[in-house]
C-alpha cells in the first residue's frame, strides 16, 4: 500500500515538474518576454508543492492511524465489557484483538473479540484506502495551486532556493534532535526508575540483583538495584583492555612512525586497522570460542582457577579491538610534532630512541592521552564482546580471573526479550544507559579538548 502511494506521489511530482516547466515556457512564448527564473525552477516549484505537503501528511497519518483505529475499535466494543478495565487490561485486549485480526488464533477467542478483530480489519483497510485518496488529492491540489501561481516574473528560483535551504537546515537539525531524543528517552525512563528505587541506593548500593518477581506467586529475588558492582566490573574490564591495548598500540605507533620504512608502513598500517573493522560480535565469539578456553587451560596448568567467563578473557579481547585506535591516534600525535624538534634533537647527537623518549613522546603526550581517553570511552561503551564473554552476575571483586558484569551487559540482558515499561527491571536499564551516556560524553569532551589544545600549540 505504502509502495503504491509513494510511486503515485513520485509520478504526480514528476508530472508537476513537467507541467510547471511547460506552462512557464508557454507563458514566456505567448508574452514574448524572458522568464524571471529558468523553466526548470518553475517545474521544481510545482514539484515541491506536490511532494512536501503530501509527505508531511503521510507521516502524520501513519503516526496517528493506529491510535485512532484502536480508539474506534475499543469504543465499538459493548460498554459493559470495557467498563472497569484498567489501562493495562485494555492494552492487553487491544493486542489480543490485533493478533486475532492478523489470523494468529491460539485459543478460541470471545465472540466480542472476534467481532472487534473483524471491525479492526475493516477500519484498517478503510484507513489505508482513505490515506491513498486523501494524500493523492492533496498532491493534485498542490499541483493546481502551484501551477496557478506561475507567471513570467514569478520568482521561482528564490522560492526553490529557500525551500532547499529549509530542507537542508532540517537535515542538519536531525543531529540535535537525535541527541535530544537520546537524553529525553534516557532521562524520562531513568526518572521513573528513580521514583521506585532511591538514587542513593542505585549509586552506592553494593548488591545488584535485578531479577524480581513479575507475578506475585513467582519465586524470585526481591530485587536489589545497587549498581556499584556493575560499575566496578565495567572499570575492571576496561582497565584490562587498556593494559593490553596501550603498550601494543603505543609501541606499534612508535615503530611505524619512527623506525619503519615507507613500504613496511604502507602495508602494516591498513592490516592493523583491519582489527578495528572487525564487527564486535565476531570478537565476542572469538573470546568465547578461543580465548576463554585457552586462558582456562593456562590457568589450570599453573593451578589457578579461571572462571569460564572471566573478566580477563573479555578484557583481553576488547584490548585487541582497541589496539588500532590507540596506535592510529598516537601515530597522528607523534607525526604532528614539528620536524624542527626532531631535527634539533638529532643535531644534538641523540639517538632515535632518545629523541623518541625525551622529545617526541613528551611533546605528543596530550595527543596520546586524548587518544587513550577516547579509547577508554569506547571500552566502557563496548557491548557485544562483554555480552558474549563476560558474566551476568554482579560481583564486587578486583580479581581479573573472576566473572564480573558490566553496564552494557546489564542493559542488554535486562531488555532482551519482551519488555514492559513499567517495572523497575526494564527501567533500570535506562538508568544504566543514562550513566553510560554521561560518562562517555564527558570522556569524549575532555579528550577532544585535550587534543584540540595540543593541536593549537603546534599550528
Amino acid at each position: 500500500m505504502l509502495t503504491t502511494l509513494f510511486i503515485c506521489l513520485v509520478a504526480v511530482a514528476a508530472a508537476g515538474y513537467f507541467f510547471g516547466q511547460r506552462k512557464a515556457r508557454g507563458l514566456a512564448a505567448s508574452q514574448n518576454t524572458r522568464l524571471h527564473s529558468l523553466p526548470g525552477y518553475h517545474g521544481a516549484y510545482v514539484a515541491f508543492w506536490v511532494g512536501l505537503p503530501s509527505l508531511v501528511l503521510v507521516l502524520f497519518w501513519l503516526l496517528f492511524q493506529d491510535a485512532v483505529v484502536e480508539g474506534l475499535v475499543i469504543s465499538a466494543i459493548p460498554a459493559e465489557i470495557t467498563q472497569g478495565m484498567s489501562g493495562n487490561r485494555i492494552d492487553l485486549l487491544i493486542s489480543e484483538i490485533k493478533s486475532v485480526a492478523a489470523g494468529r488464533i491460539f485459543v478460541e477467542p470471545q465472540p466480542y473479540v472476534l467481532e472487534a478483530a473483524a471491525h479492526y480489519n475493516i477500519l484498517n483497510n478503510t484507513a489505508e484506502k482513505a490515506m491513498l485518496v486523501v494524500v493523492l488529492a492533496l498532491a493534485i491540489l498542490g499541483l493546481g495551486y502551484a501551477r496557478r501561481n506561475l507567471s513570467v516574473d514569478f520568482r521561482a528560483r528564490q522560492k526553490v532556493g529557500l525551500t532547499m535551504d529549509g530542507l537542508m537546515i532540517l537535515c542538519s537539525v536531525i543531529a540535535i534532535v537525535t541527541t535530544l531524543g537520546i537524553i529525553a528517552s534516557l532521562l524520562f525512563e531513568a526518572i521513573r526508575f528513580f521514583e521506585k528505587v532511591p538514587v542513593g541506593e542505585f549509586f552506592f548500593g553494593l548488591s545488584w540483583e535485578p531479577q524480581i518477581a513479575i507475578r506475585a506467586d513467582q519465586v524470585a529475588g526481591t530485587g536489589a538495584f545497587g549498581a556499584v558492582p556493575v560499575f566496578t566490573g565495567t572499570l575492571l574490564i576496561a582497565a584490562i583492555a587498556m593494559a593490553v591495548a596501550i603498550p601494543i598500540g603505543l609501541f606499534s605507533a612508535i615503530y611505524l612512525t619512527e623506525y619503519a620504512g615507507d613500504r613496511f608502513r604502507s602495508v602494516i598500517k591498513p592490516v592493523l586497522e583491519m582489527l578495528a573493522g572487525v564487527p564486535t560480535v565476531v570478537y565476542g565469539f572469538f573470546a568465547v570460542l578461543t580465548v576463554a578456553p585457552a586462558l582456562r587451560q593456562a590457568g589450570a596448568a599453573v593451578g589457578l582457577d579461571v572462571a569460564p567467563n572471566s573478566a580477563l578473557a573479555a578484557g583481553a579481547v576488547m584490548g585487541i579491538m582497541i589496539i588500532p585506535f590507540i596506535s592510529s591516534l598516537s601515530d597522528d600525535a607523534i607525526t604532528a610534532v614539528p620536524r624542527a624538534m626532531r631535527d634539533g634533537s638529532y643535531a644534538m647527537g641523540a639517538t632515535k630512541a632518545e629523541t623518541i623518549m625525551r622529545v617526541l613522546l613528551p611533546a605528543a603526550l596530550p595527543g596520546i592521552v586524548g587518544g587513550i581517553l577516547l579509547a577508554v570511552s569506547r571500552a566502557i561503551g563496548e557491548t557485544m564482546i562483554v555480552v558474549m564473554a563476560a558474566g551476568l552476575i554482579a560481583k564486587l571483586t578486583a580479581n581479573p580471573l573472576d566473572a564480573v558484569t558490566t553496564v552494557t551487559v546489564q542493559i542488554v540482558t535486562l531488555l532482551i526479550g519482551d519488555t514492559e515499561f513499567d517495572n523497575p527491571k526494564t527501567l533500570a536499564a535506562f538508568a544504566l544507559g543514562l550513566v553510560l551516556f554521561i560518562a562517555t560524553l564527558l570522556l569524549n569532551i575532555v579528550a577532544l579538548r585535550v587534543v584540540q589544545k595540543y593541536r593549537e600549540r603546534y599550528e
Binding site: 524520562f188 603498550p247 592493523l272 565469539f285 569506547r378 515499561f421
Partner: protein, 426 residues
C-alpha cells in the same frame, strides 16, 4: 685555558661504552615496536584462523540419498499437503536396514535423518504432485551428530559413553557409506535456508535478507539527509552559536556507544511511535542515526577538497549558489561521499547491540518479505547461534561470521576501488 691537558677523546673506553649502551637502548625500543606489531598481527591471524578452522566444515553438509516410495495410500493426491510424510520417510529408510526390528532401534535409525526430512519431502511433493505413486531418490541432510561424525569432529576412538553417536549408529553410518549413499556437497542450505532449531537445516537466508532491508532503509535515510546536512554546514551555514551546536552534536554522536542508540530506538521508535518489534524498518532507522555522523563528516571532508576556483568560476559566469552546489561541487565530491557512505554502511552491517535491543534477535524461520516483517540480521543471527548449545551451531556461527566478513571485505574493497579510480588531486 691550559694547553697541557690532553684533548678529551671521543673514543675513550668510557665513551664507547656509553655509546654502546645508548645504541643498545635504541635497538631495544625498535624491537619492542616490532614485537608489538608482531603481537597485533599474530592476534589478527589467530582470530581469522580459529574462525576458518571451526567454520570451514559448515560449508559442506553430509547428505544421505535413498529411494523413497511415495505411497498413494499415505498421500491424498487432491491435498498433498496433508500426507503422512513422517512414516513414508521413516519406513523407506528402515527398508535399507531390514535386520533392524526393535522399536527403539528403528527410532534411533530414523534419527540419522534430519528431523526436518518429512517437511522437505512434503515440499517436494507439493511442488510436483505427479511424483505420488513413484519411487524417487530422496536426498536429505543427516542430523547434526552424524554430520559432525562424518566431518571428524566426533572421533571413532572416543569411548562410546563420551560421544553422541553410539557404536550401533556408527555401524549403520558405515553401511550407508559402503553403499555410497552418503555425500558431502557444498552446503547451499547455509545460504538459502532461514533459521531452524536443527543445525543441519539452519541457514542465513533470513538474516541476509533482514540485513539487506535494514541497510536499505539506513541508506535511504542517511544518504540524502547526510549530504544535505553536510552541504548546509560546509557551504551555506553562517558561523554562529546554532551551527556550532550542530557541529558539536555531530561529533559527539559519532562517539556515543551503539547500545545507547538501541535504547533510543527502543524508547522512541517502538515505545512512542509504536512501530513493530524486530522489523528491519526500525533497525534501519536506528542504524541510520548512527551512520549519519560518519556520512556528514566524510561528506564535509570531500566538499572541502573541491578547490574554491571551481566555485568561483561557476559564480563568475552567473550561477546561483544552489546551482554551484548542485551542478559542480557535489558531483565533483561524489566519489568521496560514496566512499564514506559505503564505509559507514559497512560499519552499520556489523553493528549488533542496537539491533538486539529492538528485538532483531528473535527466532524466525522464514525470510522477511518486507521491511515491516519480523526478521534477524547477520550479526544478530551470529549472536543467536553463538548462544545455541548444539555442536553444529559452533561451526555454523563461524561460517556465518566468515560470510559477514566476506560482505564487509567486499564493501570495503568497493570503497577503496572507488577512491582509487575517481579520486582527483587538485
Amino acid at each position: 685555558m691550559t694547553t697541557g691537558a690532553a684533548p678529551a677523546s671521543f673514543v675513550s673506553d668510557a665513551a664507547l661504552k656509553r655509546l654502546q649502551k645508548r645504541k643498545a637502548a635504541d635497538r631495544r625500543l625498535k624491537y619492542y615496536g616490532l614485537g608489538a606489531i608482531g603481537i597485533a598481527l599474530l592476534l589478527l591471524a589467530t582470530l581469522v584462523t580459529s574462525l576458518i578452522i571451526t567454520g570451514h566444515t559448515a560449508f559442506l553438509q553430509t547428505h544421505v540419498t535413498y529411494p523413497v516410495y511415495l505411497d498413494p495410500a499415505k498421500i491424498d493426491a487432491q491435498d498433498p499437503d496433508k500426507g503422512n510424510y513422517r512414516s513414508i520417510v521413516r519406513d523407506s529408510f528402515a527398508a535399507l536396514f531390514p535386520d533392524v526390528t526393535g522399536v527403539r532401534e528403528k527410532r534411533a535409525l530414523s534419527d540419522i535423518l534430519t528431523s526436518a526430512a518429512p517437511y522437505i519431502l512434503r515440499d517436494k511433493v507439493v511442488a510436483d504432485p505427479e511424483l505420488i505413486g513413484e519411487t524417487i531418490d530422496f536426498t536429505v541432510p543427516v542430523s547434526d551428530p552424524f554430520d559432525q561424525f562424518m566431518k571428524g569432529n566426533i572421533k571413532r576412538e572416543t569411548a562410546e559413553d563420551d560421544r553422541r553417536v553410539t557404536n550401533q549408529e556408527i555401524a549403520w553410518v558405515d553401511r550407508l557409506m559402503a553403499d555410497g549413499r552418503l555425500s558431502k556437497p557444498f552446503n547451499t542450505g547455509l545460504l538459502t535456508n532461514a533459521d531452524s532449531r536443527f543445525p543441519e537445516m539452519a541457514g542465513l537466508a533470513g538474516a541476509i535478507t533482514g540485513s539487506f532491508f535494514a541497510l536499505l532503509v539506513c541508506f535511504l535515510i542517511s544518504f540524502p539527509t547526510g549530504i544535505a546536512a553536510a552541504v548546509y554546514l560546509e557551504e551555506f551555514a553562517p558561523k554562529n552559536k546554532f551551527t556550532d551546536l550542530i557541529e558539536v552534536n555531530i561529533n559527539n554522536l559519532a562517539a556515543v556507544p551503539s547500545v545507547v542508540f538501541g535504547l533510543l530506538g527502543l524508547a522512541v521508535f517502538l515505545g512512542t511511535f509504536g512501530l513493530p518489534r524486530s522489523a528491519p524498518l526500525v533497525g534501519g532507522m536506528t542504524l541510520a542515526l548512527m551512520t549519519l555522523p560518519t556520512i556528514i563528516i566524510t561528506t564535509r571532508a570531500s566538499l572541502k577538497a573541491v578547490p574554491p576556483s571551481i566555485r568561483e568560476a561557476a559564480l563568475g559566469i552567473g550561477a546561483s549558489k544552489h546551482q554551484v552546489m548542485m551542478h559542480h561541487v557535489v558531483p565533483l565530491a561524489m566519489p568521496g561521499i560514496l566512499t564514506g557512505t559505503i564505509i559507514g554502511l559497512a560499519q552499520a552491517l556489523g553493528e549488533t547491540a542496537p539491533l538486539l535491543l529492538i528485538g532483531m534477535n528473535a527466532f524466525i524461520t522464514s525470510p522477511p518479505g518486507g521491511i515491516l516483517d519480523p526478521s534477524t540480521a547477520l550479526p544478530t543471527q551470529i549472536f543467536i547461534w553463538a548462544d545455541s548449545p548444539e555442536r553444529g551451531f559452533v561451526s555454523r556461527t563461524s561460517a556465518a561470521i566468515l560470510v559477514l566478513l566476506g560482505f564487509l571485505i567486499a564493501m570495503n574493497a568497493i570503497a577503496i576501488y572507488l577512491r582509487r579510480k575517481f579520486e582527483r588531486r587538485w
